[in-house]
C-alpha cells in the first residue's frame, strides 16, 4: 500500500521521471484491513480489495511476484530475487511487516497467519468448515478480529490465548480492555488469559498453565517482524524497522526514505521518540510526506523542513461494534477518563499525559465514529509536547 501511495504522491509532488515498484506478492496492491473482517466473513469478495491507482501512475513499471533481496545503498542499486539489478536515484522502503511466529515446533499443517490475501483465502476455507475448533494465539487487534469473525462464521469453539490479563491491554489500557473482554465473551469468544501457548501436540495446543486446547486451526497473531533483511549491510539502523528522521529519511541520506509499517519515525506531535505505527492511515500519510521529501531532492531543491506530525487514526471491527481511535492512547495510559457515555453502551474514552489529551478511543455502534470525530479536533489543537 505504501509503495503505491508513494508513487502517486511522487507524481503529485511534481516528479515526472521513471518509477518502478517492486513487490513480492504476485498481485497489484490491495487493501488489507478487510482480510480479517468483511472478506474473511464473506461479506466482501476477494476481488474487490485492489486499490484503484490514480491515473498519474499509469506509466509506473510494476515488477510483481519478485522480492528485493539485497541493496547497496551507497552504490544505489538493489538486487532482485530473479538475479537482476535495478539502479536508482531515490529509494522508497515500503516493505511492511510479516507475522511473527511462535517458536515451538509441531502441528505445522494446522498453523496459520493472516497478512496476505492468500493467507485469508486459506483461513476462510478452514473457518467455514462445520464444527471447526479454533485457537487464536494473541489477543491483539488482528487476533480479536479473527476470533470475532470465526464466531460469526459458526465455528464450534474459538479460544484466544494471551499472556496479558486482558485483550488489547497494552495499546488501550485496562478500562477499555476490560469492556472489550466482556463484549467478546458475550458474543461467544473464550479467552485463556495470563497464559501462553508453549507447545503443540497432535490434537492442538499446550498452554503454560498445563491446560490443553484441541484445535483444528491455530491462528498465530502474536505481532509482527519488519521486512528489513534486504537492507542489511548498509550501516542503517534497522532495529525494529527502518529508523528515519522527521522527514522520513533513513541513514541521513537524502535519497532514501521509508514509509508505512516498516518505518520507525519520530512524530513531532508527541515526544519525538521514533516508533513504528502499524496503522493503515500512517501508510498513506507517511507516503505523502516521504514523497515530498524525495521529490524535492530529485528536483535538486531543499525539502520542506516541517517535520512529520501525523494524527494517528485507527479502527477495528469486532462483532457488532467498532473501535475508533485517534491520537496515541498508549502514551496516556496512566490517566484514562470516560468522556462520553458509559462502558456498557457506546462510549468515548480520553487518554491523557501531563493532563493533556493525547488519545481518544470510541467503542460502540456507528454513532461512536461521529462522537470520536468531535474529540478529534480537540486532539489536533493540542500543542506538541516534549518528553
Amino acid at each position: 500500500m505504501g509503495g503505491l501511495r508513494a508513487a502517486e504522491q511522487l507524481r503529485a509532488a511534481g516528479y515526472t521521471g521513471l518509477i518502478t515498484v517492486v513487490g513480492e506478492e504476485p498481485r497489484m496492491p490491495y487493501n488489507r484491513p478487510p482480510l480479517s473482517k468483511e472478506v474473511l466473513a464473506g461479506r466482501q469478495s476477494f476481488d474487490s480489495l485492489a486499490f484503484r491507482p490514480r491515473a498519474s501512475v499509469a506509466d509506473v513499471k510494476w515488477v510483481l511476484g519478485t522480492a528485493v533481496v539485497s541493496a547497496d545503498v551507497g552504490r544505489r542499486v538493489v538486487g532482485l530475487a530473479d538475479g537482476s539489478e535495478l539502479t536508482f536515484d531515490g529509494l522508497v522502503v515500503a516493505t511492511g511487516v510479516r507475522p511473527r511466529r511462535l517458536r515451538c515446533p509441531g502441528l505445522a499443517a494446522r498453523r496459520r497467519t493472516l497478512r496476505t490475501l492468500a493467507d485469508a483465502r486459506v483461513l476462510r476455507a478452514e473457518l467455514t468448515r462445520p464444527g471447526v475448533r479454533v485457537v487464536v494465539a494473541g489477543a491483539g487487534f488482528i487476533g480479536c478480529e479473527v476470533a470475532a469473525t470465526a464466531v460469526a462464521l459458526g465455528a464450534a469453539e474459538v479460544t484466544v490465548v494471551d499472556p496479558e490479563p486482558l485483550p488489547m491491554l497494552r495499546p488501550l489500557g485496562e478500562l477499555t480492555a476490560r469492556e472489550l473482554l466482556r463484549r467478546h465473551e458475550w458474543h461467544g469468544v473464550r479467552f485463556a488469559l495470563g497464559t501462553a501457548v508453549t507447545a503443540f501436540d497432535d490434537r492442538g495446543v499446550v498452554l503454560a498453565d498445563g491446560r490443553r486446547l484441541n484445535a483444528d486451526v491455530v491462528v498465530e497473531a502474536v505481532g509482527s517482524v519488519p521486512n528489513t533483511d534486504w537492507l542489511a549491510g548498509n550501516g542503517l539502523d534497522l532495529d525494529d524497522g527502518v529508523r528515519t528522521d522527521g522527514l522520513l529519511r533513513a541513514g541521513g541520506l537524502p535519497y532514501l526514505v521509508a514509509v508505512g509499517d516498516v518505518a520507525r519515525f519520530p512524530n513531532a506531535r508527541y515526544d519525538g521518540v521514533p516508533r513504528r505505527v502499524e496503522h493503515w492511515s500512517i501508510a498513506g500519510d507517511s507516503a505523502k510526506r516521504a514523497a515530498r521529501t524525495l521529490a524535492a531532492h530529485l528536483a535538486g531543491t531543499e525539502p520542506d523542513p516541517e517535520p512529520f506530525a501525523p494524527l494517528p487514526s485507527f479502527w477495528s471491527d469486532h462483532h457488532d461494534f467498532r473501535l475508533q481511535c485517534f491520537g496515541a492512547p498508549a502514551l496516556g495510559l496512566d490517566d484514562v477518563r470516560v468522556l462520553e457515555g458509559e462502558a456498557a453502551g457506546d462510549f468515548v474514552v480520553g487518554y491523557h499525559r501531563g493532563g493533556r489529551l493525547v488519545g481518544v478511543v470510541a467503542l460502540g455502534g456507528p454513532a461512536v465514529t461521529a462522537a470520536a470525530a468531535r474529540h478529534r479536533s480537540a486532539l489536533l489543537k493540542q500543542p506538541a509536547f516534549t518528553a
Partner: protein, 62 residues
C-alpha cells in the same frame, strides 16, 4: 466532477469527512451524506478523501 460512494462498501468511517468536509458529512445517526457533483475546485480534497476511505468506497468519475 462526479463523486460516487459505493454504499454497499461504505461503513460510515467518516474519514472522508476530515479530508473533504465540504463534500462529505456524517448525519446525526452517524450515516454518510455527500454532495455528488462538487465544484471542480474541490478535486484535490476529494482525491484525498478517496485515498483515506478505509473501505475504498469512493470513486471519482471524470
Amino acid at each position: 466532477m462526479k463523486v460516487v460512494v459505493d454504499t454497499n462498501k461504505c461503513q460510515d468511517h467518516g474519514q472522508c469527512v476530515f479530508a473533504a468536509p465540504d463534500v462529505f458529512r456524517l448525519d446525526e445517526a452517524g450515516r454518510l451524506a455527500y454532495v455528488s457533483g462538487p465544484d471542480e475546485s474541490l478535486r484535490a480534497d476529494v482525491e484525498d478523501a478517496a485515498d483515506v476511505c478505509p473501505l475504498q468506497a469512493i470513486t471519482l468519475e471524470d
